[in-house]
């Protein structure tokens, strides 16, 4: 599976931290297995070259001790051997500590970079209309830590999702039992529920970020409705993939689709009313140019908090829809459904990448 469209590029200046590690490529590889974001091979080579240049000839040669040095070790007096071993242990411990710090800084840089790229894309596509407040400044110095955390966690979520999709696909092609398949289905469901939890936190950190789908790719954002996908739309997309359905299942799925559409319509109407209220409040200048009275400020905050509850209700709708489908379908159908759903989003993300990297016509 392709990782998300933004490729992480190692910062050129490594003055933030220069680890004298000799086996950096091997531990980067180990993180790939855990689902850690890939570091492009070219940058790994670059790191190795730099590190070879920087490396001290210390005793932390894990498994790379040349044979003649080993012979020398055996003939030394025991105290010297002990001391050397202790030094090795100490150096290894320090190395592990530095590795930890390095990774944390890597993660932070990565999410800062993702944020910057999104700001850039937004500014490029929307144009800059001057003014617009702190949020719209590209390369803004103020970083919302709740959003930074969310982006990091979402990145991990997508990687885990890609893994689960692979596993589902492979399992459905083999003779896996229903019992084993149920485990996969249950963890697939839980994974989506985890995402709703993450989003709830992000909604509190920055509701506009969530409402504008800033963490999603551009193609996904095209289909956006109150902080995510429209459940009825997803049902329409998935329907054909679940066949054959029994008569009762067909009726149940149809009813579910109708129920979703009704609920979506109701939420949309509420959102429209909120938008209208907010627009009126801003138009009549009551949203605090100059001095607020505490009533005006409360009014404004109340309206913005209402946005948070709309996203929460929309996510609740998504969750309930997933669970209802789970009730209607057999285990095997549910597995196919989750696979189809996951692949649908993968394709949308791939479409966004293709679109971003298409050759542009010279003007």
């Amino acid at each position: 599976m392709n990782t998300p469209s933004t490729q992480f590029v190692m910062p050129r200046r490594m003055n933030m931290y220069d680890p004298p590690l000799h086996n950096i490529s091997s531990w980067v590889d180990s993180f790939r297995d855990d689902g850690f974001p890939n570091v492009a091979p070219s940058t790994v080579v670059e790191i190795n070259e730099r590190l070879d240049y920087l490396s001290e000839d210390t005793s932390s040669h894990k498994g790379q001790v040349p044979s003649n040095r080993y012979d020398q070790e055996a003939s030394k007096p025991p105290e010297k051997v002990q001391r050397r071993l202790a030094q090795n242990r100490e150096a290894a411990r320090k190395s592990r500590m530095r590795k930890k710090v390095y990774i944390q800084q890597l993660e932070l840089s990565r999410s800062k970079l993702m944020q910057m790229e999104q700001e850039l894309e937004r500014v490029r596509t929307q144009g800059v209309f001057g003014g617009g407040g702190v949020d719209n400044l590209p390369f803004s110095a103020t970083v919302n830590s709740g959003i930074v955390a969310f982006e990091m966690e979402y990145g991990h979520w997508v990687e885990e999702q890609n893994k689960q999709i692979c596993e589902l696909r492979n399992s459905l092609n083999t003779h896996i039992t229903d019992v084993e398949l149920r485990i996969l289905v249950d963890s697939g469901m839980k994974h989506y529920f985890d995402l709703f939890q993450l989003k709830a936190g992000a909604a509190k950190a920055d509701i506009f970020y969530l409402m504008n789908g800033m963490w999603k790719t551009s193609a996904e954002r095209f289909f956006f409705w109150i902080g995510g996908s429209r459940p009825s739309e997803l049902l329409k997309v998935l329907g054909p993939q679940l066949e054959p359905l029994t008569n009762q299942q067909q009726i149940d799925v149809y009813n579910l689709k109708q129920s979703c559409e009704q609920a979506e319509e109701a939420l949309t109407q509420g959102m429209d009313k909120l938008q209208q209220n907010l627009a009126e409040t801003v138009a009549t200048g009551r949203l605090g140019e100059g001095i607020y009275t505490s009533e005006m400020a409360n009014n404004a905050i109340e309206k913005l908090e209402a946005l948070i509850s709309f996203v929460n209700q929309a996510d609740h709708l998504r969750r309930e829809t997933l669970q209802q489908m789970h009730r209607i379908l057999t285990v095997r159908q549910a597995a196919r459904g989750l696979l189809a759903l996951g692949e649908y989003f993968q394709r949308l993300r791939a479409l966004s990448s293709l679109w971003c990297s298409r050759p542009r016509q010279p003007s």
């Binding site: 009313k273 209220n277 209802q324």
Partner: protein
């Protein structure tokens, strides 16, 4: 609780709301789309609105509005209504309470 009971008794469908609350607006839209006969109390338009608000909070509703009572029983807020809607249980409940007919 008494104040709330008085307001919901003998009514098949009661919704407590505030005119400024847009989630309440959504819930009302959803229920109205079934042609349900709802009694709606806008707390900010009522003289004892604050009292009713506190009573609803004591019933465990957070936020206190929207609050939906079907057949004099507290069903819950927006979340509960959405759950019932998706599970296909909302309409049967409304029918049983006599809030809608076929």
């Amino acid at each position: 609780m008494d104040i709330v009971n008085r307001l919901v008794e003998q009514r098949p469908l009661v919704i407590f709301s505030k005119s400024s609350c847009c989630i309440s607006h959504s819930v009302m839209q959803l229920i109205n789309s079934y042609g349900a006969n709802a009694t709606i109390y806008q707390l900010d338009d009522m003289s004892n609105g604050q009292e009713v608000d506190k009573a609803l909070q004591r019933l465990g509703l957070k936020p206190s509005i929207p609050a939906v009572f079907i057949g004099q029983r507290l069903v819950g807020g927006a979340k509960e209504i959405i759950s019932l809607q998706i599970q296909g249980r909302l309409v049967p409940m409304l029918k049983e309470a006599g809030a809608i007919w076929v």
